[in-house]
Amino acid sequence: MPKRQDLKKVLIIGSGPIVIGQACEFDYSGTQACKALMNENLQVVLVNSNPATIMTDPELATSVYVEPLKAEYLEKILIKEKPQAVIPTLGGQTALNLALDLHEKGILKKYNVELLGATPEVIRAAEDRELFRNILDKIGAKYPKSYLVRNYEYGLEVAGELGYPLILRPNYTLGGGGGGIAYSPEEYKTMLVKALHESPTSEVLVEESILGWKEFELEVMRDHKGTFVVVCHIENFDPCGVHTGDSITVAPQMTLTDRQYQEMRDEAYKIINEVGIQTGGANVQFAVHPTTGERVVIEMNPRVSRSSALASKATGFPIAKLAALLAIGYSLDEIKNDITKSTPSCYEPALDYVVTKIPRFAFEKFSGTKDILTTQMKSVGEVMGIGRTFNESLMKALLSLEYHPEGIPDVEYTSEMLSYPNSKRIFAVFQAFRDGKSVLELEGLTQINPWFLEHVESLIKIENKIKQSELNFDVLLEAKRNGFSDARIAKLKKVNEGEILNLRNKHQIHPHFNRVDTCAAEFESSTPYMYSSYWSQFSELPNLDKPVVIIGSGPNRIGQGIEFDYSCVRGVKAFQKNQIPVIMVNSNPETVSTDYDTSNLLFFEPLTVESLTEIMRVTRPQGFVAQLGGQTPINLAKSLEARGFKLLGSSNEAIDLAEDRGLFSQICHEIGIKIPTSGMAGSLSQALELELKVGYPMICRPSFVLGGRRMEVLESSEELKSYFERHKEFISSTQPCLMDQFLSGALEVDVDLVRGKDWIIIGGIVEHIEAAGVHSGDSMGVIPPQRLKEETCLKIEALSKKLSERMNIIGHMNLQLAIKNDEIYILEANPRSSRSVPFIAKATQIPLIDLGVAATLMKSKQEVKPEQWDWRKSDFVSVKGVVFPFKKFTESDSILGPEMKSTGETMGRGRDYSEALMKAFLSSHVNLPAKGEAFFSLREKDKKEMLALAKEMSQMGYKLSATTGTARYFQENGLDCLPLRKVHEGRPHCVDHIRQGNVAMVINTTTGRKSIEASFDIRRACIDYSIPCITESDAAEAFLLALKKKSEGSFDVERL
């Protein structure tokens, strides 16, 4: 049966803000599916609350809604758009859960909307572990022994029977949220309470441990005819016990025999059929005992997933596209293989290379959190390396992580770092081999399969060979074939990197570029999807006419994520619209930019000077673009230019002006822009000398930090001393501490602009909701500004233009400014596209990236017609919301500060500020409780300001409670308020009160390290129990506005 003729309009649900466990892989799948369905002449309605995505680009679908992913909002969209069907399998667990909710509330039935790709029964069967186990029993598949626990007492009972360690898996949570491994009864008890709470159905599966078993994943597809294919088999380097999202994984699987594998394949087929999946993609995870070969099923997901995105990139098989086409009635044999163009899609890709995925973590952002990996996912991004052998692919992936240019630097490690899985274990394993440990010893410590360990050992043997022998042709070629970077070889030979490059040039040792073709060269193909290998003897590169290279943003990390992929992808399209072919280079398998049909030629390669040099050496581009992929390409620009490649857009001089603080403050003075007073101190005594000049409060950070690491606001000499004491290892005369005047209470704004050779367009001014001191990535923001005076806005625009001219920007610039007492201070200038660009582009409808490309191409004012774009013209107010991963980092503090911690953003659009705010909060998973108790714990200076707010809340019917001091103040001012003890004042205290479930929301403002530590438990309790906790007074005002709007009950949805 071909495409269903009755379908004219379908709705695709996105996955919302980026959170750990659900990241931009769903933007990739959603975007691919949208494109496929639009190609089929269907009308596609798309809803997602995440503005940083490519899928919410208005050009992608018939209509795009940036609205909260909640049933009541979806209902309004269904009424407005009248689609015949909803596809819920492309937006992760969020979309599935939302679809289930729509079904259970009867909304789908009411508007006669069909669910495509997954039925409610299938969604339940995959997520409800009891149902799933019944299915496994039916087909005779084994699974780890376990019990479904619905209360604490029963939980204790089953623990005795199963024995420790135990695995806890709460039902219906993302990325294993709230789960983990308990090694002792004590640990188990606390985890059980949390897990029961975390599950929306209060159900936890308590499972016997299969720690140390080998773990595998099959990415499968099935169509309505029952045709079944395994797109990719993946083996985990880390054995069971580490969430698969946190594991290093390898495709194809390496250590199973054909018999073992085929049995696994058969079982996956039975599971998919028995669960009742009619069409689409799914994944099934298995564990296999390393010696007996016994196999158990771990889980199944009836949708595209993180691993299906990886599988697509690993094989070239477009799973999401196929899932969408299967959902509208096609079968696999009716769809041509995109890559070969001749064979059908009902086949299984054959790989003649190896891919390795390595997750990227952000533990350093969450102080207090132990760097230990469990069954709860904690990584924030991932990279993939493609090579002909496991060694080559592993080493390329390690380089792609952007941790260290050597890829496998010498590190210090402890034996705990080997035996407890952690984010740096792989480096420790390398080091352990360097220190002479054997495969057997490491197998004992890590339980990693010896096949993998032997490969790591072989790499260290090569390292020794490089060290000990002359670097002749053979040794150098062997090193390169095993993925050693020039930087690492240089380090081992104690020479500089350039010498290794010269040597390679002399010996003509360069990689060749081969195609990812899904069929191991069995059929001809012309897909422009390439990887490099030193094993290869020929390149399969197409010829492009004067292409440009766009450097991507690499692995997602906190501070550099999907928003830069948006910039890159829009950038590709903009160059193409100008008839310029684009070469895309990136290492992140979750992205749209690495889809094989996004650019004219895709290189899946590490973003290093070395690999980009090799790519540009053979493709001879007219230039490269560094301003779209965030900080990664900016950091590469200078070295690439030094190697003779042309940087397009703003020059390296402009980059230097922005990054060198001395130069930057000089030009600011020159053109009369204020910057906060600042100083640099290499020691405490120097700092104390500068103390008066800079003044308190001040903001301190070590130089060479990214994303605000170790940045703190200090209020006194005492805190300054403590700061130097705590961070002394990062401060020295060569790496001085930067001390800046802190503009307490100032209003911050982001400005994004584009400058061409004779024109400038202001993209917009985003006013931060929180006052200065919160990292711009963590603060909510609103456009147009709500509190700034119009004249200040005009001044900001004028200043920004002036600065961009002085710096001779060509293309994008992002500025961060602070406004205090109507004075404008400049905090930072970035000569590139920024995090706020996609948000602004969607809020104002100005195609900022296209304009940036026009600027890069030196288009004139007449061509660009800048006057047509006015960011003030929009009828809507847009609020940027923020989501944080504190739940996953159980020891970390949720207070906001100068160090960025958020993983994703949302956008609320409304006719007025309050509607936009309400939507932004809802989309960011912040509850807006209609009734209940509001608890206050305020620092002295906020009390007066918050009094009015408390009054208003009381009038709205909320009960009030507060810590003793705050409560007394409220009472003195005529408010009814329940006083509660602070934690150090004895029990029962406010945290007990919160944990007992008495509190609906918390407003907790605090400064100074000591008070922050003292109030930690309050915030932690809120995170644990999903209670909104506002830590800043301006945010509290905004929260109140949203509460009011919510209580009115009226809202509307509007397409972009």
Binding site: H233, D258, D333, A350, D352, H455, N514, A521, E522
Partner: protein, 379 residues
């Protein structure tokens, strides 16, 4: 040690012979006359299966072939005698990018070594595969030489010599002695198996449904087979060009329409020859575990295990024969069936090993639909 793979068309690929392991290299040099023993010629074919190297090497259909595995790393999980698809290793050479490093499980290298099968690694197998794809299935040789020129000369001698072996490859690999094996179903049918180079798993599958099977040499006469009074006839897989197989087609012909016949791979081709149809050489054959099949008998589309260099010419099949299985990659004939005369020919490998199992239902079909149902009808 440097080794060369030389294709008849002139391309030479340098790689390393045997493993990097010094212990094994020592063993290698210890073999008397090692250069002669490890220089081998054969048809060069590529296989896209990721795993199953031991099954492939022991499959008699690979007789006289040098196998290039496109998946880069082989030998990963060691060896297991249970995986053998026949009594010996048949391939003339094993080529892949890399074999297992470790001393722990160098089993696979060692096993090939014991059978004097050269292993060539470290060459660009992707480039090689593209050559094979373009040239069809060329002859080639793995040789030890000091440079490419010498390699070419040595290879030519080997190839010429190898081409002189008699063309009926099936006879070369077929059992010389008749053999009876007991099936698992005491009152099940008795099946005669004409061994063209049978894979063990075909026999295992048959024994699941049969009371007894009797395996005959490929040149056994009609009378000897008929005197066994088989209730069905199995024609197995095997190597080479079906047109070169002597006697078999004529032996099969009188059985057609008399008892149910199931032919797999070479068996399927011999069956088609017996029907008066023709076979032709495919450009580069189908070898791998990922080929899509549309099957009208089982009424499904599935992924199959394949290994064949020849195919049946559809136009030459008799009218009552229906093409029931098709390879969806190139739409070649992958199977045919005649209800009236009760035979089934399958070009690919329902017995898998290596490869996916979906087609194994065809054995069930053979026994339940073609043998048992027919019996009931007759009564």
């Amino acid at each position: 040690m440097i080794g060369f793979l030389v294709l008849e068309s002139g391309e030479v690929f340098a790689g390393s012979l045997f493993s990097e392991s010094s212990e094994l290299r020592k063993d290698f040099f210890a073999v008397n006359d090692f250069e002669k023993k490890f220089s081998r010629a054969g048809e060069v074919v590529f296989n896209t299966s990721h795993f199953g190297y031991e099954e492939i090497a022991t499959d008699p259909s690979y007789f006289s072939q040098i196998v290039v595995i496109t998946a880069p790393q082989q030998g990963n999980y060691g060896v297991n005698r249970d995986f053998w698809e026949s009594r010996r290793i048949w391939i003339e050479g094993f080529v892949c990018l890399q074999t297992q490093y470790s001393e722990r499980e160098h089993g696979w290298i060692k096993r090939l070594h014991e059978s004097h099968v050269p292993i060539l690694t470290g060459l660009d197998t992707r480039m090689l595969t593209m050559h094979l794809r373009k040239q069809g299935t060329p002859w080639g040789a793995i040789v030890i030489a000091k440079d490419k020129e010498e390699a070419k000369i040595k290879a030519k001698v080997l190839i010429d010599e190898k081409k002189k072996i008699q063309k009926d490859w099936v006879f070369e690999v077929s059992r010389k002695e008749t053999e009876i094996q007991i099936g698992e179903i005491p009152f099940g049918p008795k099946v005669a198996v004409l061994d063209f180079g049978v894979k063990e798993n075909i026999l295992r599958q048959l024994k699941k449904y049969a009371s007894e099977i009797k395996i005959f040499n490929s040149r056994t006469s009609f009378d000897i087979i008929a005197s066994y009074k088989p209730e069905a006839l199995m024609l197995t897989n095997g190597p080479g060009d079906p047109a070169d197989v002597q006697q078999a087609a004529d032996v099969v012909k009188p059985f057609i329409g008399q008892i149910p016949i199931f032919g797999i791979c070479m068996g399927h081709q011999i069956l088609s020859l017996a029907l008066g149809a023709k076979t032709y050489k495919l450009k580069f054959g189908h070898r791998g575990s990922n080929h899509p099949i549309q099957d009208q008998l089982l009424k499904k589309i599935y992924v199959s295990s394949q290994n064949h260099g020849y195919a049946v010419d559809e136009k030459t099949l008799p009218e009552d024969v229906m093409v029931t299985q098709r390879n969806l990659n190139d739409h070649t004939v992958a199977g045919f069936f005649s209800q009236r005369r009760n035979f089934l020919g399958i070009q690919y490998h329902p017995e898998a090993c290596p490869g996916p199992h979906e087609a194994s239902e065809l054995f069930k079909y053979f026994f339940e639909e073609m043998i048992l149902n027919k019996k009931t009808e007759d009564r």
